[in-house]
Symmetry: C3
Subunit: 284 residues, 3 copies
C-alpha cells in the first residue's frame, strides 16, 4: 500500500521503502469461506485501518487443528517481509482461560490465541517478546465469547498497523503454551516418523528431515504396510512414470511420498498422523 | 489504497483519511474458484480502476441461494468502513426481467441484482436510495444474457470507485424485491425457529435472537427429535467436553447449537432450514 | 497500488495512471489452500516487492490439468489491464527438462512453466516474445526440484514488478510447447465437440463456438445419449423452469448445457472431455 511521505508521520509502524510506508496484514484461519467470519474480520480491519493490505494465507486449516496450524505458519511466515502483521485464528479454546497474545519476533508480529499455534516460529526467533493482550481499549467494545477473531485479534492487528505501539496493547508474558510436534526416532538402520501434512495433491509430507547427500532408503513402511522395492527414489515427480510411487525430498526439506499424477493419501489410505518407517538394509 | 493528495482531484469518491483517498471493492458470489468467473470480474474492475483494492468476501455462497446470500451480507457488510463498494452476484434470474440495481445506504454502496439479497441491509439503513442501473454507457459494450457480474456489476463498481456519481449510472427506483427471512414464533413456554446457516465447523446458527440475561432453555428439539437433558447451556465451546452437545449464543446474537470439537450438522443430520424448538418447562 | 510520483523513478515498470504507478501480480495455481504453498509464494513476492498488489485468480485448477489451466487463463487474462504480471503454476513437470519461461505479450507478462498453459493467450497475441528464464541471479538462492513457484516464478514476477527489464531475466526462446485444444468437427447437419469445462454450478461449457444469429439445434447428444426434444434453446437460465434442460450460448461465446437451478454435470453424468453432438435435422 503506497502512502505518501509525511502523511502518516510518526503514527506509522510499517515497512519503510525509501519514504513509502507499508502495512501488510495476513490472515490464517479454519473458518472456511461459506460463513461470514472471514469477511467480518476483513471489515473490522479495514474499518480501523482502511490502508492495510490484507493477504489471505489460508482459511482451510483443518477445523481446530492447532498442529496443522503450527506447521502451516512455520512453513509460510518466514518468507514474508519484516513488519508484516500475521493474524492466525485456530482457536478451539476461545472464551475460556486461554489468553489472547501478540508476539513480536525479529520485526514481525503474530496475533492470535495462546494455544501453541505459533510455537514453531517462536522457536526459530532471535528476538522474541510475548505480550498478553489485556488492554480492552483496543478491542471491539462488545466482547463475545466465541469470536475473538472479530473482537480482539482483528482490531489489535489494525491498531498495530496504524502505528499503536505493542507496549500499549498488553503486558509482557513470560510463560506461554508450547506445542511439541512429534519428533522422528532413529532406530537400527531405520528412521521412524509421521505424516505431518497432506497437501492438495495428496502428497504425504513427513517429519523426517532429509537432504540429497544422505543415503536413499530402500525400505518404506507406511502404516505397517511394507512398500519395499515398490517405490523409486527421485529428485522430482517427473522422473518417474505416471502412477508410480516415489519418495523424494520436499520443498521444505522433509521426506515426501507421492504417486506421480495421482493422490498418494487416497490410494495408499494414509492420513495425517499415520506412521512412516524408512530403512537402509543391505540386500533389502 | 494510498493515493497522493491532488492526484485524483475531484474525480474521487473514496473515503478521505486526511488527504488519502481509498477505494475498496468487495466481492461476494456463488461462483466458486474453479471457473474463471471471479477472475474475470477482478480483471474488469482493475481494467477500469487499477487502484481499486479488491477484497474477497466469499465465492462459496450456496449456488443460487439468495436467502444464504442475504444472511451473509447482513452479517458482514456493517463491519466495513464507509464508502466501501460491495458487489454481490447471486443471480439465478440473470438476463430475465429482474433489474440490476445499486443501493446507496448510509455512505455505502451495494451493487447487484434486484432479487432480495440486499434486503437485510436495506432494512437496517437510515438513508437508503435504490437506483436501477439503466445507463449502458457504463456497462461493457457487449451485454451477455448470463454474466452480468462481468458486464454490468463489475464495471459499475469500478466507475463508482473512480468517482462517477451514482446519479449518472441509473434512475431512482421506488419498488424493489424484499426477501422476508423466516421469523421465529413464540408458543406457550417455547420458541419455534429455523436453522438459518451452518458454518464451516458444522455449528447450527438459528433465527432465534437471544441474550445472556434470558432464561436458558431446558428443552431442545431439532427436526422433531428431542434432545432434552442431553445438552449443556454454555457461554463458549470450551466450557464443555469434546463431543458434548452445547447450546450457546452465537457471535451475532442468535441461538447456536454445536458439538464441541465435532460437526453438529453432520452428526445430528440437520441442514439449513431444519426446524428447531426450545422450551422452558419446569421439571423437564 | 498508489505510489507517489517520483518515488520509484525509472525503476518502475507498472501501469502509469497520470503519475501513479501500479504493479498488479495475479496468481493461478492448482495448489489449493490447505497447504502453505500459495502463502509461501505471496511471502516471496512481498519480500521482494512489498508494494505489489497480489490478486488471486484461482488456486482450484484441477491438479496438474494443463488443459483446464489453458482454458482458464485464456478466459480471464484478456480482461486485465496492461502491465499486469500473471503467474501460473500448474506444473507437473517441475524439476525436469521443461523450461521456466516469461512471455511478454501486448504489454502483459506471463510467468510459468513451458508446458502449454499459455498457448491460448499466446495465439491471440499481436506482439509476443518468449523468454527462457535462465538468469539464476533473480531466483531464490536455493533451487528446489519440486517448487519453482516459490524459487523461480514468484521472485521473477516480483523483480519484474520492481522494474527489472525482462531482457535481464533470460534469453529469447524461439520454440515453445503448444497445447492444441480439441477442435469441434462439422459433419452433415451436425457439429461434434467436447465439454471443455464444468463450472461451479455444474454447467457444461463446450468447445463449440456459437452466436445468437445461428440456427438453434434441435438434436443434442451427450456421451452418445440422445436428448432430442428434451431440451430448450434459451437465451438465459431463467427462461425455462426449474429442473429443465437448456442449451444456450455461454458468456464467452460457446455452446453451454445447463439444468435450471440444478447441476447438469452430476444429473447427466457428464465430465470434462465428454463428447457432445448437436444436430439440425428437419422433423427431428
Amino acid at each position: 500500500m503506497g502512502i505518501c511521505p509525511g502523511i502518516r508521520g510518526d503514527y506509522s509502524l510499517g515497512l519503510e521503502l525509501g519514504s513509502i510506508t507499508m502495512s501488510i496484514i495476513t490472515l490464517t484461519t479454519d473458518f472456511g469461506e461459506s460463513s461470514p467470519y472471514v469477511a467480518i474480520m476483513k471489515g473490522v480491519i479495514l474499518g480501523i485501518d482502511p490502508t492495510a493490505q490484507i493477504i489471505d494465507l489460508s482459511h482451510q486449516i483443518v477445523p481446530q487443528d492447532i498442529h496443522q496450524a503450527n506447521y502451516f505458519l512455520v512453513s509460510a511466515i518466514p518468507y514474508f517481509p519484516k513488519n508484516t502483521i500475521h493474524i492466525a485464528v485456530i482457536d478451539p479454546g476461545v472464551g475460556t482461560q486461554r489468553k489472547p497474545i501478540a508476539v513480536s519476533i525479529d520485526d514481525r508480529y503474530l496475533i492470535g490465541p495462546d494455544n501453541g499455534i505459533f510455537s514453531g516460529i517462536i522457536q526459530q526467533g532471535k528476538q522474541v517478546q510475548i505480550w498478553e493482550l489485556n488492554n480492552s481499549a483496543y478491542w471491539r467494545s462488545q466482547l463475545s465469547s466465541t469470536f475473538h477473531g472479530r473482537d480482539i485479534f482483528a482490531p489489535i492487528a489494525a491498531h498495530l498497523s496504524r502505528g499503536i505501539r505493542i507496549e500499549e496493547l498488553g503486558i509482557v508474558k513470560t510463560d506461554w503454551i508450547v506445542l511439541e510436534p512429534p519428533k522422528p526416532e532413529n532406530g537400527l538402520n531405520e528412521i521412524r516418523g509421521q505424516v505431518t501434512t497432506i497437501d492438495h495433491f495428496g502428497n504425504l509430507i513427513t517429519n523426517i528431515a532429509y537432504s540429497q547427500d544422505k543415503q536413499p532408503p530402500n525400505i518404506l513402511v507406511l502404516n505397517d504396510k511394507d512398500y519395499r522395492k515398490r517405490f523409486q527414489w527421485v529428485r522430482t515427480y517427473g522422473e518417474a512414470l505416471s502412477g508410480e510411487l516415489v519418495v523424494l525430498i520436499s520443498s521444505d526439506g522433509f521426506l515426501e511420498i507421492a504417486i506421480v499424477n495421482g493422490n498418494a493419501a487416497k490410494e495408499l489410505n494414509v492420513s495425517r498422523g499415520s506412521s512412516i518407517r524408512i530403512g537402509f538394509l543391505s540386500g533389502a
